[in-house]
């Protein structure tokens, strides 16, 4: 049932006089057909019909003064106008429901995700987030927000984009695979816990595949005597036990500095290969990425401009970035611009690895566990702190001999840390 009310047809009017009805009870009317003429203190206006149907009940008489919002008459709305061919269908589905009711109820009978509720509700999202969604062809109203107050975040949209495409791809593989071929591995099993393969894990996977598929990796191993550098660290700490002067620096900071100094002699490992333009770009800055293990997987914050920084500064920056990496507080700018990566897996314990290079960089060096080992120095067997390193490099760009020489230079600097003083800027 559609109620026709007197609405405000002039500026701020609150009542009007019914002058003339153009229709009577039982008349059929079309949409926009004039129903009644109303006189206000400013205008005389015809009220058109808001719906097609039959005049059911006229509530007021000609000459009555009615206030804005009062019901003047009601219309029993007709069913949807139909073409002759569909009339039979109408009879089959004969419904007494007026059109307006149907419109309101129709979506609840449909099966698309979201239903009527999503049509009426607007999700909370910042304009920038909406822009991301729109540019990726995503209906943001279909996303469940995880932000404050249920707000859709940028990450929610990215997750939706990522996850929205994954099931489709899987479906396609399944339907296209011939059923009789059983060689494809079956992942389905009742006795397995499922971990979603998305987000950070998926990004790492993508990056690793890209790196390994692009770069012919070669890994060269070496062992380094770190006794001297550990002793130096100990002495520095003893001189500043409360770290008031920032002298309590990590051994890893010396490794970073040693690599930077060695890269001056072997800049080919501080480079990027631009295959498309057929050029190897030797980077001027030395920005060392620190492969860091976090709860969400591998993350590589970057220590920038190592060539301009002292060991204390490097140590401080490393500590800060590794802490933030582990607490997921790094910003995008903290992780970009790397030119060489180190992986300090020693504290976790390992003796060798074949690390994957951080594409498009050219090399990566992993530092392994330090352990006290009897070694021959001169003609004596002495106990020294020994550490293995694994140097992976891009064999398209450099050769084994260069990698060995580079590693030897790193070894020389770490074994004789006072050599680094010659490189002070």
């Amino acid at each position: 049932m559609v109620e026709v009310k007197l609405h405000d047809i002039g500026e701020g009017m609150h009542e009007g006089e019914v002058i003339h009805f153009f229709v009577k009870t039982g008349d059929s009317v079309k949409i926009d057909q004039p129903l009644v003429e109303v006189q206000t203190d400013k205008v005389t206006a015809e009220l058109p019909s808001p719906a097609a149907g039959t005049i059911k009940d006229i509530k007021v008489k000609e000459g009555d003064v009615v206030t804005v919002g009062s019901v003047i008459l009601t219309i029993e709305a007709a069913s949807t106008p139909t073409s002759p061919s569909s009339k039979a269908e109408d009879k089959v589905n004969a419904s007494e429901q007026p059109v307006v009711d149907k419109i309101v109820k129709a979506p609840s009978n449909t099966t698309f995700a979201g239903g009527i509720a999503t049509l009426n509700k607007r999700v909370l999202a910042a304009p920038f987030t909406r822009k991301i969604a729109r540019e990726n062809g995503v209906d943001i109203e279909q996303i469940t927000g995880t932000g404050a107050g249920g707000r859709v975040t940028d990450q929610d949209v990215y997750n939706f984009i990522e996850n929205g495409s994954v099931p489709k791809a899987e479906e396609k593989i399944e339907t296209e695979a011939p059923e009789e071929v059983n060689t494809a591995p079956s992942f389905a099993t009742k006795n397995a816990e499922e971990i979603p393969f998305k987000g950070r894990r998926k990004q790492i996977a993508k990056k690793m595949v890209q790196s390994l598929a692009t770069i012919p990796h070669v890994t060269h191993f070496e062992e380094i005597d770190v006794t001297a550098v550990m002793e130096l660290k100990k002495q520095l700490k003893a001189m500043d036990p409360e770290n008031k002067r920032g002298m309590n620096v990590s051994v890893a900071a010396f490794f970073v500095k040693a690599i930077q100094i060695a890269l001056k002699d072997f800049p080919i490992f501080n480079a990027k290969l631009d295959e498309e333009n057929e050029v190897i770009r030797l980077e001027k800055n030395v920005n060392i990425g620190i492969a860091t293990d976090s709860d969400e997987g591998l993350i590589v914050p970057v220590i920038s401009h190592v060539e301009q920084r002292n060991v204390r500064d490097i140590a401080h920056d490393m500590k800060d970035k590794i802490t933030r990496a582990k607490t997921n507080k790094l910003k995008g700018s903290d992780m970009t611009g790397g030119t060489f990566t180190i992986s300090n897996v020693g504290p976790l314990g390992s003796i060798a690895a074949t690390p994957i290079i951080n594409h498009p960089e050219v090399a990566l060096m992993a530092f392994h566990k330090t352990k006290k080992t009897p070694v021959v120095v001169g003609n004596e067997i002495v106990i020294r702190s020994m550490m293995n390193v694994s140097m992976s490099f891009d064999h398209r760009v450099a050769d084994g001999a260069t990698a060995v020489m580079f590693t030897n230079r790193v070894k020389e600097l770490i074994e004789n840390p006072y050599f680094m003083t010659l490189e002070l800027i």
């Binding site: 304009p127 920038f128 822009k131 940028d154 700018s333």
Partner: protein
């Protein structure tokens, strides 16, 4: 090749004096008028020494009548002079408001460009110096809504001299606001001779990616402190000194918020009807789709500037600005 430029370390008020001196030397039609600007050297000594150097015909002590000072300046400006009128405080400008609104700002339009009013109104303004009532008003927004009138606010001695010279050379009336808190708070190397800092251009004081902080005048010191605290918390602020309140540097405002997606606007004038609202509209018009969080404003309150015991509570503090920065970055 570099060109050596002689500089002197000057306070802002000394830089203002120097700017006037340079232009009075260069152009004989530049004159100064206002209450106590002559023998007394101005309430803040901004005109100190000018009467001795240029004489009483060019540095004129006027009666205590702001309407008269501005009205006279308008007539002089339309007849070949370049008057620099001093209001003792911006809060005393109200008697002259009619002259500014109905004449100075619209004579170019009224005469279809036949006449312009190349005058400068200098006015100390703002709170934080423990001045009595009315002396501390920040009513710059009354004038930014006045088409035909430029409104500028330097925040340091270098800008003060360069912008004042640009204002004197401008063919239209310029309200040159001088934040009292900055008058003697800092010294800076200022070139001896003539140089221009263009009107209508903002200055980026600090580069950052996380949030843009807009301010001007005495609030620059406050936002720089806040930006430093924010940086210690890992938030990098793009700090913009607006300098020109009308016209605003729309390009830099849009460019910065489109980079950061977040904005905090700081001024000591009351929030309602303040310049912050204009900047919010501008961001809405140019950069809505780039915004990651609602814009925050840190302003004075919708009250007259209180007596000095409460002044510090009225003025935006670095703490309030840091809170706003955190609010928009954590949204």
């Amino acid at each position: 090749m570099t060109t050596a430029v002689d500089t002197k370390k000057l306070t802002m008020v000394q830089a203002v004096t120097d700017g006037m001196r340079v232009m009075m030397k260069e152009q004989e039609n530049v004159i100064v008028l206002g209450e106590d600007v002559g023998q007394n050297g101005g309430v803040f000594r901004a005109t100190d020494g000018l009467v001795a150097e240029f004489g009483e015909k060019r540095v004129i002590d006027t009666p205590l009548a702001e309407s008269g000072i501005i009205g006279t300046s308008i007539g002089l400006a339309m007849n070949g002079f370049k008057p620099i009128a001093e209001m003792q405080f911006l809060g005393f400008i109200y008697p002259a408001f009619n002259q500014i609104m109905t004449h100075a700002s619209r004579i170019r339009a009224r005469t279809l460009g036949a006449f312009t009013v190349p005058m400068v109104i200098r006015a100390p303004f703002g709170a934080g110096v423990r001045a009595p009532e009315i002396h501390s008003d920040s009513v710059e927004a009354l004038f930014t809504g006045m088409p035909g009138m430029k409104v500028v606010v330097p925040s340091n001695p270098y800008d003060a001299k360069g912008m004042l010279i640009s204002a004197i050379e401008d063919p239209d009336p310029v309200l040159f606001l001088e934040p009292m808190r900055c008058y003697r708070s800092t010294k800076m190397d200022v070139p001896d001779g003539k140089y221009n800092v263009p009107l209508g251009k903002a200055a980026r004081l600090q580069e950052g990616d996380d949030v843009t902080v807009f301010a001007y005048g005495a609030m620059i010191d406050v936002v720089m402190k806040a930006a430093k605290t924010a940086e210690e918390k890992g938030i990098n602020c793009d700090v913009i000194d607006l300098r020109s309140l009308y016209p605003l540097d729309k390009e830099m405002i849009a460019e910065s918020v489109q980079k950061t997606g977040r904005a905090v606007i700081v001024h000591e004038a009351p929030g309602t009807g303040g310049l912050g609202e204009t900047i919010m509209s501008l961001i809405n018009d140019t950069s809505f789709l780039y915004m990651k969080a609602p814009i925050e404003r840190v302003t004075g309150f919708d009250t007259p500037v209180p007596m000095f015991a409460l002044e510090d509570h009225y003025l935006p503090s670095a703490e309030r600005v840091v809170q706003a920065i955190e609010k928009v970055t954590q949204f």
